[in-house]
């Protein structure tokens, strides 16, 4: 267990460093950045905002990480958010309880994921094309559900999910942390993670090794749909209304970016959900810098692009290799004669 923690820490070191730097940047533009107060029954502060506002991207990138690990991509998550929000809102507006609304929205999200999964795994349509279908059509479906309006609601239970707090902590933070840990635990405590990675690295070999790639592929798209639905409910609950036109708009790109910043390859294979979640927090921290800096909004995208490019350059193989060389030349290399495990077992 301690060893897994250590390797997880090693894997996420670049993301932790980048996050620290971006948070420091926040501190420089706004010295009060790290102060957290408890007022009006909730934690109040910029750090809390980063965690809270990062929730939709964080939730999306949990599912997206798994999808990308299989060498796929899910462009439909933004649209699925809109659908799920619309379903939840219309259910409570029709007088159902918030529990029904939540379950209904999540079920619809899973259904969307299932659709994507079947297109990819059974019909063998390229993921980018398969999920593009729902990306385009999904927002239309959401508009049909809300009839083109912002469907507002007052159900306190549902609102609690997006705008409420539990012991002073905004609910969305708890939701994404819980789901992130739960999914990480499931993929790493079972063999699911390894099998997903195997499919992403070499699907042909995996199939010949007896892995049921079809079922696993459907599974990851289903999880992605579930995550998107949860994000959609939170976003709708946050503004007490389902905005089919804008909910989750372009958020699929932020989710993909979070996965990439998390050091996961778009070519599939090895993945780390924790690193992706850190990626989501990095993106939200960048947004925070922009908002706190007080720069005119014309600079928003330029600043964001510059910071993101800097992050990606630092993570690029060339720069990484250079850093590795620098580190390696600083300390003599010990020939790896006996594997660690063997040594331990002989003691």
């Amino acid at each position: 267990m301690r060893q897994t923690l250590r390797s997880a820490f090693k894997r996420t070191t670049p993301q932790l460093l980048i996050l620290a730097v971006v948070l420091l940047l926040n501190f420089l533009v706004f010295p009060d950045f790290f102060s957290i107060k408890f007022q009006h029954g909730r934690l109040f502060g910029n750090l809390i905002d980063v965690l809270n506002r990062g929730a939709p991207t964080a939730l999306l990138c949990i599912g997206m990480t798994l999808v990308i690990a299989t060498r796929g991509i899910d462009l439909s998550v933004g649209a699925v958010m809109a659908i799920a929000g619309a379903v939840a809102a219309s259910l409570v507006v029709d007088g159902h309880g918030w529990g029904t609304a939540l379950i209904g929205a999540l079920a619809v999200g899973c259904l969307c994921g299932l659709w994507n999964g079947v297109l990819v795994a059974v019909l063998r349509i390229q993921p980018i094309v398969a999920t593009l279908v729902l990306m385009v059509a999904g927002r239309g479906i959401a508009q049909l559900i809300t009839e083109g309006t912002i469907l507002t609601f007052v159900n306190p239970g549902l609102i609690q999910l997006g705008a409420g707090t539990v012991v002073g902590i905004p609910t969305p933070i708890l939701i994404w942390l819980a789901l992130g840990l739960a999914v990480t635990a499931v993929v790493r405590r079972t063999a699911l993670g390894m099998l997903i990675e195997a499919i992403g690295i070499n699907e042909g070999s995996s199939r010949l090794a007896g892995i049921n790639s079809r079922v696993l592929l459907v599974c990851v798209y289903l999880i992605s749909g579930f995550c998107a639905a949860l994000a959609g409910v939170i976003v709708a609950a946050d503004i007490k209304g389902a905005d089919a036109n804008n909910a989750g708009l372009w958020l699929e790109l932020d989710a993909i970016l979070a996965v990439v910043i998390g050091g996961n390859s778009l070519l599939g294979g090895r993945f780390s959900i924790i690193a992706s979640l850190l990626g989501a927090l990095i993106i939200q921290s960048v947004n925070s810098v922009i908002l706190l800096s007080g720069m005119p909004p014309e600079f928003n995208l330029v600043i964001k692009a510059l910071i993101i490019i800097a992050i990606l350059v630092i993570q690029s193989p060339t720069v990484k290799h250079a850093l590795y060389i620098i580190r390696a030349s600083a300390q003599p290399i010990v020939p790896p004669e006996t594997p660690k495990e063997l040594k331990e077992s002989t003691q």
Binding site: F30, D32, Q39, H40, R42, F44, G45, N46, D49, R53, Q143, E147, G148, T149, I150, T152, A163, V235, D238, I239, K240, G241, D243, N245, N246, A247, L249, S288, L291, L292, G294, P296, P297, E298, N300, L301
Partner: protein
């Protein structure tokens, strides 16, 4: 219909053939339904046509110019009496407008104008975005009455013409009033959720909101989102922070009725009414309307019966 007063009557030597408004057919090429306001515009246009006994042919272009051009061509082929066009972009209309002109079908532009020779369309019914910002600014000038006030501004989508013009109009109105100062201005992308997110950061950055006296939002949706952020920060929207925005969507009226917002300026979804008026006048006695019909930018405050407006507007499709 005060707008009729805006119409400048001029007598045409050439009187058109008598055409009864009662059995007139008009084609309407709508952009799509990208916003609540757009949906309301569609609803109101259909209502206006029905009230006047006009047979309206409606075509939704789903944000695509080629769909609009197709729709206009099919209207021409069907020989409609007039065409209403809410253009999705400003350029590229010359050819199809020529075709309409050749077929002697008048084209009336709704909500936006086009970059085409003025003789290719009869008139354009639009609001004046700068004027809207101006009204909002003037309201705040009057409400503050010389007291110092720090304003935060939620801009529309960066680079969009409503964002540019509404910012400009507001700035013009408060210019020269040294008590009013915009301390933070950031885009909220015209959406509720971004309005809330950006307001949250304004509140944090300005001493928990104690430093903010008023909010000006380029549309009501952002204001509605910001109201929630203000409430969550433990402040009273409408009292601790004055709120003025533009569009007059139902939820904003509800907020004003609850004392959580102070003023909104109407961007009327009824662009078709003045257009039909101009069309009927022209067909009746050849009155040529002006090239630009400006809709009224009406100010609503707590003095109005906001609940009644809310009830009336909520079924328009906002």
């Amino acid at each position: 219909m005060k707008l009729k007063a805006l119409l400048i009557a001029s007598v045409m030597a050439l009187a058109p053939a008598a055409s009864m408004a009662g059995n007139m057919t008009v084609g309407f090429s709508q952009i799509g339904s990208e916003s609540g306001w757009r949906a309301a515009e569609t609803t109101v246009t259909k209502q206006e046509a029905e009230n006047r006994g006009i047979n309206l042919k409606f075509a939704d272009a789903q944000q695509k110019q080629e769909n609009q051009i197709k729709a206009i061509r099919s209207f021409i082929a069907q020989g409609v009496d007039a065409i209403l066009l809410a253009p999705v972009v400003a350029t590229g209309w010359d050819e199809v407008l020529e075709e309409a002109k050749d077929a002697e079908i008048p084209v009336l532009l709704l909500d936006r104008t086009v970059d085409a020779p003025k003789d290719l369309y009869m008139t354009a019914v639009t609001s004046d975005l700068v004027h809207e910002g101006n009204v909002a600014g003037q309201w705040l000038v009057d409400a503050m009455n010389g007291k110092p006030c720090n304003i935060v501004e939620l801009q529309g989508t960066t680079g969009s013409s409503p964002a540019i013009d509404r910012k400009k109009g507001f700035a013009e109105a408060i210019a020269g009033h040294d008590n009013l100062k915009i301390i933070r201005s950031q885009t909220g992308d015209f959406t509720r959720s971004q309005g809330k997110v950006v307001m949250e950061s304004f509140l944090k950055a300005e001493d928990g909101g104690k430093n903010i006296c008023a909010l000006y939002a380029h549309n009501d949706d952002m204001a509605v989102g910001a109201i929630q952020a203000i409430k969550e920060a433990g402040l009273k929207p409408g009292e601790d922070i004055k709120i003025v925005a533009i569009d007059s969507v139902p939820d904003m009226h509800l907020a004003i009725a609850h004392g959580e917002a102070n003023a909104t300026i109407e961007l009327t979804p009824n662009m078709a009414g003045p257009a039909f008026d101009a069309l009927e006048a022209y067909l009746k006695d050849g009155t040529v309307p002006p090239k630009w019909i400006q809709t009224e930018s009406r100010l609503y405050t707590a003095k109005d019966d906001n609940m009644a407006i809310y009830e009336k507007k909520k079924n328009l499709g906002y």
